[in-house]
Symmetry: C2
């Protein structure tokens, strides 16, 4: 894995697969689709949480199980689709007790209900690692699934929150970096109790303002490059929203807050491109459901992602935090 | 896991889940369902293959990946539903090479295409074990999903093939038991290249003859007890179809062929109960698609499963081969 990397592995497997004719959502986007009657699509998504790479020290089993749901729901949020039903496939180490299992059950249920879905089935197996593999089902209208590929030059770029908290939180949990009381709580909390921006994603999808959408689970830089690649565009980011707590954490620990915000991961904000003429409609829709839409830049020609700070342009690299042990790619 | 057992774990998790209202396929059956428009159901299934418990020595990665598909398709076959699309979530050890990954990709594709389905998405992760977690999607008419719960006293009991081959094959692969040339090939082959009885399951579902259905992946005895429990009936099995190769293998190794046939696993025959008046219709339907429907007994009152041999009745216990290392439950 380390030598090959996730993206290379996916590429190798894709080469071996016979493609379903008329795929309405292409491989590599955040969900998959199968056509139903009357212009509807079955939306399907699977994502696996693995103990040793996705569960940092300090995260309870309840939190890990809930996080497995959030990871999957976040992709539904990015596509603007409501998750309806969840199947759970568990790999459990032999050492797990009844109490551990109950905690996992409670966490799964809490995550599902938090986003209006139900766990409706699954199976369980013995494994060396804790493995929580979920598959999520939803229904969408044919042209109402927001892909990565629709961004056009001139579109605005926006996100649903401030960045860098989970990266800072992970550095506290994994590398024992310093942070005092309240700040530590916020940063670590962002890792242990992530939230999917489902309300925001559904509200945005109602407006028809969004041209491309992704979540930031592999980091903001990575997400921007994914949209850039799928849409064949570039980005100029000139208002990078770094969380206040991250600025303070960076100062105390001698880190670059922009790096923390750009090259993070395990962060579940939405990253969207918006038709300029529908900006205020989109902003209002997100505000109505209690969220925020933050303008961070615009779509430009080319394939590069630039960050502009104090009038200077920097290249944003296509890298992110690929799991705790995998390091950056 | 060993101390708790799969069934206990599932029970513990179920206690923590809030049930979706109006579940049309209950928890514990082989697939799950979500209502679509016009009396249709989305049929969903997830099942995980784990290297250390599901891949015996001698099985290639291509075969393991294909088996992961067969395991899932077999449950669709039992319910009489065509699998349409498959999502794959992979956990891969770091040591895996490009060649290994390609082999997995080829095996997944071969399995999917063998049963008319396509792999349409997935994700990949690092894990200690090989983990191939599939989720399968299909569409069924509301009253055309064959549950475990419909068997009635007087129904006939039938299976789609002869039993004991995989158990004997696993004993050859795992315990080095003896078998000569051709017999060894058949028995080991049944483990390495299992086949789901999809054609048979779909053909049976067309007839309306089936009242309850399950596959025999946890062994014939276990499957009969599962239908017994769900349908609140008992069974009298008086024509247990033991494969010829298994009889010979049992003789050479001093084993009981009936035990091998009853208490096996990793065997993907269908076990169905049939309305007596529609028996020949069912038999013909299966024959038309190139399969066989073997009458093995009948549904009786009570909760016990009996085996009748030479006029004597024996109790069939609710046990099976629960994975290679888990031992019998």
């Amino acid at each position: 894995m380390e030598t090959l990397g996730e993206r290379k592995i996916i590429e190798l497997i894709l080469e071996e697969l016979e493609l379903m004719p008329n795929m309405l959502v292409p491989f590599g986007d955040d969900v998959s689709a199968y056509p139903l009657n009357k212009g509807e699509l079955a939306i399907l998504k699977t994502d696996m949480l693995v103990g040793k790479t996705d569960v940092p020290p300090g995260m309870s089993l309840w939190q890990a199980a809930r996080k497995a749901v959030v990871m999957n729901v976040s992709d539904f949020a990015a596509k603007g689709v409501k998750p309806l039903a969840i199947l759970v496939s568990l790999g459990l180490p032999r050492s797990f007790t009844s109490k551990d299992i109950k905690e996992i059950g409670k966490g799964l249920n809490a995550g599902a209900r938090e986003y209006g879905a139900y766990v409706i089935g699954g199976d369980t197996n013995e494994a060396s690692d804790l493995v929580i593999s979920l598959s999520v089902f939803g229904i969408a209208k044919k042209n109402k699934v927001k892909l990565r590929s629709g961004a056009r030059v001139g579109d605005l770029v926006a996100v649903t929150g401030f960045f860098g908290k989970t990266t800072a939180g992970l550095k506290i949990l994994l590398e024992n970096l310093k942070a005092n009381g309240e700040i530590r709580k916020v940063l670590v909390g962002s890792v242990l109790m992530p939230r999917a921006r489902l309300k925001e994603g559904l509200a945005l999808n109602e407006t028809d303002a969004v041209t491309a959408s992704i979540d930031s689970s592999d980091g903001l830089a990575w997400s921007l490059h994914e949209i850039a690649k799928a849409s064949n565009v570039g980005f100029l980011i000139n208002q990078l929203p770094v969380a206040e707590e991250v600025k303070k954490f960076a100062e105390v620990n001698g880190l670059d807050p922009l790096e923390l915000a750009l090259y993070g991961g395990e962060e579940y904000e939405l990253v969207v491109t918006i038709k300029p003429e529908l900006w205020s409609k989109a902003e209002t829709a997100v505000a109505k459901v209690g969220g925020r839409l933050l303008l961070i830049g615009k779509v430009i020609a080319g394939k590069s992602v630039f960050l502009e700070v104090d009038g200077k342009r920097y290249i944003v690299k296509p890298k992110g935090w690929e799991h705790f042990r995998g390091g950056n790619v």
